[in-house]
Symmetry: C2
């Protein structure tokens, strides 16, 4: 049982539960890259298992502004030293998948999840560009998370503009990922969102979360959504997350 749950938790971190959270700090601070850490072989999977699609990588729907910002942060994930050797840079790209544990093996709870049709809310649409296109980067020195987000045409709320709930979804995703890095598995306890300016469909936005403090099981984070050039503030948010024992969720307690 313990072994199964251990694997469940590994998979959980890998796929970013609780608002698409990224891997835990123990993995992020490894000397290996995020991509290497989550290779199927390390999860003990048969080699014939195909690699899951990483939704945080560029696709044909990404516009020029999305690509410009992606390249800006991605180029800082690895830096070349004088001797030509490559080292980790200040930023790390966080991979993103659409379901839990599909590619791992485990016990009865895992089996239930594998059979499930459940998909991560932000990655549930197969049409690239139609809903949430985004990629997250984390900077451990600055304790910041940045997401680049392109809002697709199926996210409409007010005519021609992004639904307030879709914006809240991206905020929860980014601050949830950030809280997960800081504190391991967490759940959202409070989101207080000020909507300052409507967002036209198709926009590319920057979502930046900053750690305020950690107190016991509580993690306090602020988050801003701005236009891609930073000139327009669309929303500002304070968020509270609380650490949980992930097995409680998996066991349905």
């Amino acid at each position: 049982m313990a072994r199964s749950l251990g694997r469940v938790c590994l998979g959980f971190h890998r796929l970013g539960a609780l608002s698409s959270a990224p891997p835990p700090p123990s993995l992020l601070t490894s000397s290996r890259s995020v991509r290497t850490i989550f290779a199927p072989a390390i999860l003990g999977l048969p080699s014939f298992f195909s690699k899951p699609r990483d939704f945080s990588l560029p696709n044909s729907s990404w516009g020029s502004e999305m690509m410009r910002l992606y390249k800006h942060y991605n180029s800082q994930c690895e830096v070349e030293m004088e001797g030509g050797e490559k080292q980790e840079g200040p930023w790390q790209r966080l991979p993103s998948y659409n379901r839990f544990l599909k590619y791992a093996t485990g016990g009865v709870y895992l089996s239930k999840i594998i059979q499930s049709k459940a998909r991560l809310f932000t990655r549930n649409n197969r049409d690239t560009g139609a809903t949430f296109e985004y990629v997250l980067f984390f900077n451990s020195e600055e304790q910041k998370c940045v997401a680049i987000f392109q809002a697709g045409h199926l996210l409409e709320g007010p005519p021609g503009h992004v639904h307030g709930g879709a914006i809240a979804t991206m905020i929860d995703t980014v601050v949830g990922a950030h809280a997960n890095i800081v504190s391991g598995p967490v759940v959202t306890a409070n989101l207080n969102i000020n909507y300052r300016r409507p967002i036209p469909l198709g926009s590319t936005l920057v979502i930046e979360s900053s750690l305020i403090k950690k107190e016991g099981k509580k993690v306090f984070i602020t988050c801003k959504v701005t236009s891609s050039d930073g000139s327009k503030l669309h929303t500002d948010t304070t968020a509270l997350f609380v650490s949980i024992n992930i097995s409680h969720l998996l066991l349905g307690s």
Copy 2:
């Protein structure tokens, strides 16, 4: 221009812009039923136009709890008098569509919207039961809005549970609809959501919003999400909406 915009606004109200808002009070207080008011003929459409799908009506994915609650409120939308005549009851079901203005006619702005692939965020999935299944009812005497919501398997956040953003989306949808009835076209200005208890995927929930006050352009509303029997509180929210001139959004200003 004025005529076109007038029609735009009619369509806007009809399809529930800004968080899937319902028709304005002027239509809701009509002696005709909501269904009759929004018949294509009244919108001046050719008879060969098919009626748009009303997503708030039952489908095969609705579980027994969803159907029980739907029947409970729907039975109070029309009451039979002593002589057998039917009259409006205390509740009104609010229809729900997946795009703006598809079935109306109008000017250049309307034409642009008709050509658009944009779809309402909460109604963008064709697979019934996969994402948001919900129906809204409004009680004008009590100034309350109630939604019955069944959370589909594509709304996952934490493993096996609903994403915090999907819950925020439903809250924004319900309080936005309520604010729209009270004050005409509005946008979300603030959502302050306390997440008290995770929601398992597949759950049927009751979302109830209550008007606190209206001050000038501001509308203050509270909202609770509970289990279908009311025994478990999942979230409580305070929300602020602000009236806008909808033509500003449509004209892209």
